[in-house]
Chain length 338, copies 2
């Protein structure tokens, strides 16, 4: 089992289109609340989540006992897997997807089975996945939209998965929900095997803070608490969550900017004759053939960071969609070396 | 398996002698660095730990690959257990001790065996522990000094444990090291089964930040990374660690104040004829007999918080040692109701 080693380090001062982050930063309201939070001796005190849980319950329109705060989506995956997957249990994943599903499934001793996204267009392999689910399947971990493909399934597809995977915990990781607009939240009431993770690391611009949550029926959430540290979320992260959901307009504006920039990006790719996978999120796979690594390296020399995915999707790089201005800068750099 | 539910909530505005925190707050230098860290769009970026790892390596006088940053001591325990304990493996604990050892051992499917601290004086049960270690023991988790007893073992005792537990990962949780002054760090070189956790939640006054680390031989640390999220520590927590180790004088002064206040506390207990367990840390168990819960409740009404331990040590409450002034306030309150 290989450790997950993301190529971070030395990203400062560059156009960071490699980690699907918010490329302009979090809401000023978040910063203001954090500055207030630093006054006094509050840092010496163990975190309290009362205010944050109240704010999130209102934000999601659900009871406070139907979610748990998590240290980013990573802890959401870990807590879910540690609660439901024992040694040798079957865990179903899609490939390629977010690396931490496999990581935590293996740490828990699970037996991982992977279904490939559809060759060619990389669309969601609904029928193949449904066929692979058996009564022995203990967990199904899906990102919707998926990273790095950008493809997604609709609620009808999810309902078929949930109905078929009756013996499994089904995680729908909605890290990129804000760019997609379709959530499985309304299904929680009807499907006791549904778990949904959300994060403040992407559209909300708070990746540094490690703040997320995991939602499900209250009875399930009580089980999740049995595998979770009571203090896994930093108190400043909890404060930042409160402030972030108070400023919905900020995120809406950023998302609108990204969606416009994504159109610009598609146009640029078409102009240059570059094949790409249309995306439901704030990143797009584009095809560089044999030149994937050299293109990434040349872009880096021009202070533009993109992410190599060619090791799992031959020929593909992934670029995060920032503002229209940032995408213009990316396209200008790419055009120079293409 | 019961979830760990600490009685937090509503602690604001009270004299908080219930969680062994630093009762005056972290170094002003930490706050200054955090304020600087909040400028710019840094919060949108995934954490980088380069500077923090360099600062900690210098602080501990060890190579950067001989420790991993952790989301408080809780994650240190979790990563160690997830790396070395599989379903059914034997985990040896002392009783009473920090609740999260048992918690994570059970989440990992380990079989927990507990050795009691010596009845009466609650001293470290070295011989009993040595006798309990067998070739089947996969992990031994020890707090030194221990919470809530305040008792400890010396390096000679630890060396005997490490030598006997050759098939086990031995965790020495040094959360209260700063008040004790004896560390197992010099033993890391000679004992490949030794793991040491440190935290910034106690003497350093950063409990809100969830910042700690786990030290061992480099080869072990490489294994630990295989069970750990690459971003489990919040970027502001990483910044705070850097700043904290730059201001050693602040912690030394706080520790000296606590040690002086602990003497005042002992004197106060003796004056009132209250039995107590002399401690190596910033908390002391004192005996209230049948009145433990009422005494805790009466103190709370006077805005003084202490922690009930009578459910595991009949008749005992635990009080955190703050400043001399805070301890005088506690003793005055206690005297009124005793």
């Amino acid at each position: 089992m290989a450790p997950y080693s993301p190529p971070t380090g030395g990203r400062g001062g560059k156009l960071r289109l490699d980690f699907n982050e918010n490329t302009v930063g979090c809401s000023p309201h978040v910063l203001k609340r954090l500055l207030e939070g630093l006054s006094g001796s509050g840092l010496a005190v163990y975190p309290e989540y009362v205010e944050t849980k109240r704010a999130l319950a209102e934000f999601f329109g659900c009871p406070e006992n139907s979610f748990t705060l998590t240290n980013g989506t990573d802890e959401a995956i870990q807590v879910l897997v540690n609660t439901y997957v024992d040694d040798g249990d079957e865990v179903l994943l899609l490939r390629p997807s977010y690396a931490m599903y496999r990581f935590y499934a293996e740490v828990a001793g699970g037996t991982v089975r992977e279904i490939d996204y559809r060759p060619g267009d990389l669309q969601f392999p609904l029928e193949e996945l449904l066929e692979a689910i058996t009564p022995k399947t203990r967990a199904v971990l899906i990102a919707n939209p998926n990273n790095p493909t950008g493809s997604a399934t609709d609620l009808a597809g999810l309902m078929r998965i949930l109905a078929r995977a009756g013996n499994a915990a089904v995680l729908i990781d909605e890290a990129y929900y804000e760019f997609f607009g379709i959530t499985a939240l309304p299904l929680v009431r009807d499907y006791p095997n549904l778990f949904i993770s959300r994060t403040f690391s992407k559209a909300y611009g708070m990746a540094a803070m490690r703040a997320g949550c995991l939602l499900s029926q209250a009875e399930n959430v009580a089980y999740l608490h049995k595998a979770q540290s009571p203090y896994s979320v930093n108190a400043l992260a909890a404060t930042a969550i409160c402030a972030a959901v108070e400023d919905k307009r900020y995120v809406t504006q950023f998302v609108n900017e990204v969606l416009a920039a994504r159109e610009d990006l598609y146009s640029g790719f078409r102009r240059m004759g570059i094949r790409f996978i249309p995306s439901n999120a704030n990143f797009v796979l584009f095809h560089c053939g044999d030149r994937a690594i050299p293109v990434r390296d040349r872009l880096r020399e021009m202070n533009v960071l993109v992410r190599d995915r060619s090791y799992e999707l031959p020929g593909y790089l992934r670029v995060t969609v920032g503002t229209r201005r940032q995408i213009a800068q990316f396209l200008a750099a790419l055009e120079q070396i293409w």
